[in-house]
């Protein structure tokens, strides 16, 4: 556990020490802020004291921003060769993967923490549904966990960060809307299955204030699956 936190800490510090971390943070806050407060369907236009505009834009921004954050995690280490010094230390593959996962998660949590300002502002304007807001944030966090792990897996596949980004988007796009489209064009239990696979379906529940155990379990399953695949993939490099 000690080493996991050592790695997580180093990953987070690399972001906070460099420009790229701040660029990602500022862009994330800029885009969510713009759509929440300034664009056509903004909070003031809706006329209700709720964060629905924020939650729908945050869902989409995370879909793009998480891969931008995770793309470097293993691709850069493979490209620069530092993976070799990392893997020849007494550290296991899972410790490394989980360490990087925690580091990236902390950065997303920091980004989300900044958006609490929106929450506080809206709460001052009028009566806000605190329950729905809290569960909406919980939903964002679980969706982020799934995307971070998918991004880390994608990054373990290549030494090129751009390719890693595109692979992550390519996988994410299924959860983000392809499953949803498939659900709408199919029927019966098949439609229900696709609905369940789509992140949007679960996220809608969270945003409405419903925390369903099956949603939490589903997102955690995706997270653990993707992280395990990254571990398997790193291990298989030894035999190539």
């Amino acid at each position: 556990m000690n080493k996991v936190m050592t790695i997580a800490n180093k990953e987070l510090n690399i972001f906070l020490d460099s420009l790229s971390g701040y660029v990602i943070l500022v862009l994330f806050l800029g885009i969510t802020g713009f759509f929440t407060w300034l664009s056509a369907n903004n909070i003031i236009f809706v006329g209700q004291a709720d964060l629905m505009p924020f939650f729908s834009v945050a869902f989409w921004t995370l879909f793009f921003f998480v891969p931008a954050l995770t793309m470097r995690s293993f691709a850069e280490e493979q490209n620069s060769g530092t993976l070799e010094i990392l893997l020849t230390h007494p550290v296991s593959f899972s410790q490394i993967v989980v360490g990087k996962f925690i580091g990236d998660t902390l950065l997303i949590l920091i980004a989300l923490a900044f958006t609490l300002i929106y929450y506080l502002t809206v709460a001052l304007i009028g009566p806000i549904d605190h329950g729905a807001t809290i569960s909406g944030y919980i939903g964002l966090i679980f969706i982020s966990l799934a995307y971070i792990s998918i991004g880390i897996y994608a990054s373990s596949l290549t030494r090129n960060q751009i390719v890693a980004f595109l692979i992550a988007i390519g996988i994410g796009i299924f959860f983000q809307f392809i499953f949803q489209i498939l659900a709408s064009i199919s029927s019966g239990s098949l439609s229900e299955l696709f609905d369940f696979l789509s992140f949007n379906y679960h996220y809608q529940n969270f945003a409405r204030g419903v925390i369903e155990i099956k949603s939490v379990l589903y997102l955690l399953t995706i997270t653990i699956l993707a992280l395990s695949l990254a571990v398997v993939n790193l291990n298989s490099r030894r035999y190539k």
Binding site: I14, S18, T82, E84, H89
Partner: protein, 310 residues
């Protein structure tokens, strides 16, 4: 702590990179691993450090099997990979602390060990700089410091002086020699002078196989055909000398180097005292020798000869 390789073999797909290597490196030895590019040096080192799994065969660190107990083996190994990869964005101090933590240096010891490494590797002036801003020579020192931070008994250095200028090369060599006294060091290179200058023992590898093993002097003895001497005869014409040479005992071949100055290179047979033969013969013939000097077989010649034979 010894390094033992038993029938170590590695394929990349169908390509055989390392072919049944058996080798033992003993404590206190600095072993030079020599071979042309692509001979299998780096692959062998990556297997010793458990970065790559062997296709068959074993690596033992002391009596720890690297495949069965990699974490335990890794604690005893310091590794400087080829091209010295480093986290360019990190500060020297942070990087060394990170490496120390990963290498199981106890938390309370990290600061002391790191400061010691900064001292040993001469990093004092750059400790608070970003690695990306350091010169190549300093980066190499950071790489060495990283490899040494947990005080490993075994040091694996893959081409540690590549890309350095001549002064930096000398400094790094001195550092390796100094460190190598209490450790088992395996150092790879394709530069012969380097291996000769730093190593007690030289192993030559080509196409994945060990083809020679010994001290640099041993290798010369083993592999050169016999002693060679350069002579100059003052009181004879070159034709006369050439004619008389046929009677010189133990002469294998000769070559006229300078016909005006009568300088000739004589190649003796193996295992004879060729210099005495030359002297006695000269006395007998009444030659005035103005030059009788041994010619060293260069390690380069042996190397080229060996690696082209196979």
């Amino acid at each position: 702590m010894n390094i033992t390789l038993k029938n170590l073999t590695r394929y990349y797909g169908k390509v055989l990179a390392v072919d049944h290597i058996n080798l033992e490196v003993r404590h206190g030895q600095i072993l030079g691993f020599l071979g042309p590019n692509g001979a299998g040096k780096t692959t062998t080192m990556k297997m010793i450090t458990s970065y790559l799994a062997p296709s068959s065969g074993q690596v033992l660190i002391g009596d720890i099997n690297v495949e069965e107990n990699p974490d335990e083996a890794r604690r005893h190994i310091g590794y400087l990979p080829e091209n010295n990869p480093l986290y360019q964005d990190m500060f020297v101090v942070d990087f060394l602390d990170y490496m120390a933590a990963l290498a199981d240096v106890p938390r309370g010891e990290i600061n002391r060990r790191r400061d010691e490494m900064i001292e040993v590797c001469g990093l004092h002036g750059v400790r608070h700089k970003r690695i990306a801003h350091l010169s190549k020579g300093y980066q190499q020192r950071v790489g060495l410091a990283q490899a040494l931070i947990h005080d490993p008994e075994i040091l694996i250095l893959d081409e540690p002086t590549t890309g350095l200028d001549p002064r930096q090369i000398i400094e790094i060599r001195e550092l390796i020699k100094q460190i190598g006294r209490e450790k088992t060091v395996l150092l790879s290179s394709h530069i012969l002078a380097e291996v000769e200058a730093t190593c007690d023992r030289v192993v030559i590898i080509n196409k994945g196989r060990l083809i020679a093993d010994g001290t640099a002097a041993d290798l010369r003895m083993q592999l050169s055909k016999g002693e060679r001497y350069r002579i100059q005869v003052a009181n004879r014409k070159i034709e006369e000398v050439e004619h008389d040479l046929k009677k010189l005992p133990n002469l294998q071949s000769y070559k006229v180097l300078d016909a005006q100055q009568n300088v000739i290179l004589l190649q003796g047979r193996r295992d004879v005292e060729f210099a005495k033969d030359i002297f006695n013969f000269a006395v007998q013939q009444g030659w005035i020798l103005t030059l009788l000097s041994p010619e060293q077989t260069k390690l380069e010649d042996i190397f080229i000869q060996l690696t082209s034979e196979n």
